[in-house]
């Protein structure tokens, strides 16, 4: 093919950095907003932990917290971490950045829609930020916003804070709907020649499954949110029993979305692991197709598990066992993925740079999250541990593994592609070991607190006789969580230092197979010199027919390869 098309765009600063339609810039915008919120969410976690360990004392650097403010902190921490950190980073940043590059497209199918999506998200962030400063403070009805608590201002004392919270969520959903349309259409239609669905990197499969889950589950909640807003502002009573409404309706609409949402966050995180584990083992992923089928199975199952959040909500008790069954069975597809990851390690040639450490960390943490999920999924056990710190710890093990460990793995791995420079390994490894040990130090005590019966969202465990003996665990978790926050400093230094001073990265610094590595680092607007042609699947590491231990997807088949019996050569 001819030399690469020179992208001669003398575009203004605004078109390049602010109102860009380039998927990579949009990804970085999502990343920037997500990281900003991560800092806010982390500081909220600090306030929460302080209040729990030393109730009603002055938190250093902040001051008095108290129960009312604590409820707001709890609510906003959950909202921010799920909707404004995990989703923008895992889908907004990694999805936007990697999907076009990995499928071999020059940009998303609808670049303008993509820009609209990130700006809707920015607006939603602004609304959420404003909600902190309105009279009455931000939302304080829990991130699940159960009515009637959330349906009438008098119950929480929060008026506009909660209205803005609903508005911010509605905007955020709109933003990700637009993003989801782009993900799905791009993957379906803009694949490079030769890139069949079964040659897609698993990360792309995970991202599109997540997008489908999101798009098909969020609708009822949007309707439900409109109803909640009407209850608050107009005075209807959709969720207020005194006017003929039903509080449980919201819970169903919320969790009908809320549970698939868990997988919306989790799957892209698993996708990152599924790229990194085989890569640093220099081996094909074990069971590419079984993994895809089990992802789809998990996606389908995720629509029929939501009521396990409501076993004790006053829901018809006959519904509990069917939902308990589906919930526990959804462990099977995820078990398959975990087994496949472990099998990928077998017989590998494993090296341990920072991305691999974080990927293995994700695996370790996610395993605990998944295994403890069985306790929650079992309806009778849930009677005791529902709404306790056991649940809190469980979902931090699952979501933290995706939103934190996998995110870091992905950032360390794709940083050279995103910014054209390598990150520092020493700081990276320091960051990993600090994060890994401190994370467990924070959340293992929470399992024990949960078993001890400590309820979620209480501001002061010392008010309960049966929790007082457990207080040392709270203190321990708090100290560990402060250290965990401080443990992120090496990352921040590394990130900014590497942006400026990092070793300049070549096109394919890791010798990886997928298409993004055949584009320049960082790729220009339009990504590829010429649209690549794909000859094989993404995980042909250590293929017997080539001397190197890697075989890029777009390397034309050599004549010698045709004679070999390797499946990779069968284009």
């Amino acid at each position: 093919m001819s030399a690469r098309v020179e992208v001669e765009e003398r575009v203004s600063f605004f078109r390049t950095y602010v109102f860009s339609i380039d998927h990579k810039m949009i990804a970085k915008q999502y990343l920037a907003i997500g990281l900003f919120w991560a800092i806010v969410g982390g500081l909220l976690a600090y306030l929460m932990r302080w209040q729990l360990a030393y109730p009603d004392t002055e938190a250093p650097g902040w001051g008095f917290i108290g129960p009312e403010f604590y409820n707001m902190v709890v609510t906003m921490h959950g909202t921010i971490m799920v909707f404004f950190v995990a989703m923008p980073i895992l889908l907004g940043a990694f999805g936007n950045f990697l999907i076009p590059l990995m499928v071999g497209a020059r940009d998303m199918a609808f670049p303008r829609l993509n820009m609209l999506s990130v700006w809707t998200f920015a607006l939603s962030s602004l609304v959420l930020l404003i909600s902190f400063f309105v009279p009455g403070g931000a939302a304080s009805a829990g991130w699940t916003g159960y009515p009637p608590l959330s349906a009438k201002p008098i119950y929480t004392g929060v008026n506009w804070g909660l209205n803005l919270w609903i508005l911010a969520l509605a905007l955020e959903f709109t933003s990700f709907l637009m993003g989801g349309i782009n993900f799905l259409t791009t993957t379906a239609n803009l694949r490079a020649p030769g890139m069949s669905m079964f040659r897609l990197p698993l990360l792309v499969w995970m991202q599109i499954t997540a997008a489908v889950l999101f798009m098909l589950s969020v609708g009822p909640l949007i309707a439900g949110a409109v109803m909640l807003l009407l209850d608050r502002v107009v005075g209807t009573s959709f969720y207020l029993p005194e006017g003929g409404g039903d509080p449980l309706l919201w819970q169903h609409l919320f969790w009908f979305f809320g549970h698939p949402e868990v997988y919306v966050i989790l799957l892209p995180g698993l996708g990152i692991m599924l790229e990194i584990l085989p890569f640093f083992s220099r081996k094909p992923i074990f069971g590419y197709r079984p993994i895809i089928y089990s992802t789809i199975a998990a996606g389908i199952l995720s629509f029929v598990v939501w009521a396990h959040h409501q076993f004790l909500s006053g829901m018809d008790p006959r519904l509990a066992m069917p939902f308990s069954l589906t919930t526990i069975i959804i462990s099977v597809p995820f078990a398959l993925m975990v087994f496949a990851m472990i099998a990928t390690l077998w017989g590998g040639s494993i090296s341990f740079p920072t991305p691999m450490l974080f990927a293995l960390g994700t695996l370790a943490v996610f395993l605990i999250g998944g295994l403890t999920g069985i306790f929650n999924g079992s309806a009778p056990v849930d009677i005791y541990i529902h709404d306790t710190y056991f649940v809190v710890s469980h979902f931090h093990y699952t979501l933290f593994s995706a939103a934190l460990f996998a995110t870091f793995a992905g950032l360390y791995f794709w940083f050279p592609k995103m910014f054209g420079r390598m990150m520092n390994e020493t700081l990276g490894k320091l960051h990993f070991w600090l994060t890994f040990f401190l994370f467990n130090a924070v959340f293992i005590p929470m399992f024990l607190l949960g078993l001890g019966g400590m309820m979620r969202r209480i501001a002061n465990p010392m008010q309960y006789d049966f929790l007082q003996p457990l207080q040392p665990l709270n203190v321990f978790a708090t100290i560990a969580s402060i250290l965990l926050l401080l443990g992120q400093i090496p990352f921040v230094i590394n990130f900014f230092w590497s942006l400026v001073k990092g070793k300049v990265a070549e096109r394919n610094p890791w010798q990886a197979n997928t298409l993004e590595w055949s584009a320049p680092s960082p790729p220009p607007h339009g990504n590829f010199d010429t649209v690549p042609i794909v000859y094989r699947g993404p995980y042909e590491y250590s293929h017997p027919s080539v001397p190197e231990d890697w075989l890029p997807q777009d390397r034309p088949t050599m004549p010698t390869l045709r004679q070999s019996s390797g499946q990779a050569a069968a284009v």
């Binding site: 709907l177 349309i181 909640l221 039903d246």
Partner: protein
């Protein structure tokens, strides 16, 4: 340079599935809309089954006005699909005529609906007058917002057709049409759900 231009206008011809990219994107949008209205309608049906006395409230709705409005919307679907047929043939005049008619019918629907709301509120049936009315205004209101969006889209298409900007981009008529028919289908269900479900009282 040429390739960059193609990029910048966002019209990428390549499609691996054979489905035009715009159509696929629109269908994904409609898929999420189906779940949205499906969830809302489900909430309405189940709440209605779970509490009594909604039929007496529903009896205050005017079936003739509802029927006329349904007729208007069904007809607008016809004009919309005729605009698409004209677009398929490249018949610019046909596109303009049928699009204008669709816009007018959509506006007629909104005006009738507006008067209907006005008279209901005048009679004291505000959204706070009971659960039925809350659902009624939420469902018809959300639907009316969709109609309004459709009218705006069709109007923009009509204006660009007037200015000759639609030539070569006729597929946009098809996309607008898909959305418009979807809104029509929602109404096809809202009409019996709200207006006709009280034939013998009860429920």
């Amino acid at each position: 340079m040429a390739e960059t231009h193609v990029m910048a206008t966002g019209v990428e011809i390549r499609t691996a599935t054979g489905i035009p990219t715009g159509k696929m994107g629109l269908w994904w949008f409609l898929a999420s809309e189906i779940v949205l209205f499906g969830g809302l309608i489900g909430a309405y049906i189940m709440s209605r089954l779970g509490s009594g006395g909604w039929s007496e409230m529903a009896a205050h709705l005017s079936v003739p006005i509802g029927t006329i409005n349904t007729f208007v919307l069904l007809t607008s679907s016809l004009t919309m699909v005729l605009a698409f047929a004209a677009a398929d043939k490249g018949d610019q005049k046909g596109i303009r005529t049928w699009l204008l008619l669709t816009v007018l019918l959509g506006l007629a629907f909104l005006i009738i609906k507006g008067f209907e709301w006005g008279s209901e509120i005048g009679a004291g049936f505000t959204p706070m007058a009971g659960s039925f009315w809350s659902f009624y205004y939420t469902m018809t209101g959300l639907h009316a917002l969709h109609v309004l969006a459709g009218v705006v889209i069709n109007l923009l298409l009509f204006l660009s057709a007037l200015m000759g900007l639609l030539r070569g981009r006729e597929h946009r008529v098809e996309l607008a049409g898909l959305y418009w028919h979807f809104v029509d289908i929602v109404w096809i269900f809202l009409f019996p759900l709200l207006y006709l479900s009280w034939p013998k009282g009860g429920l």
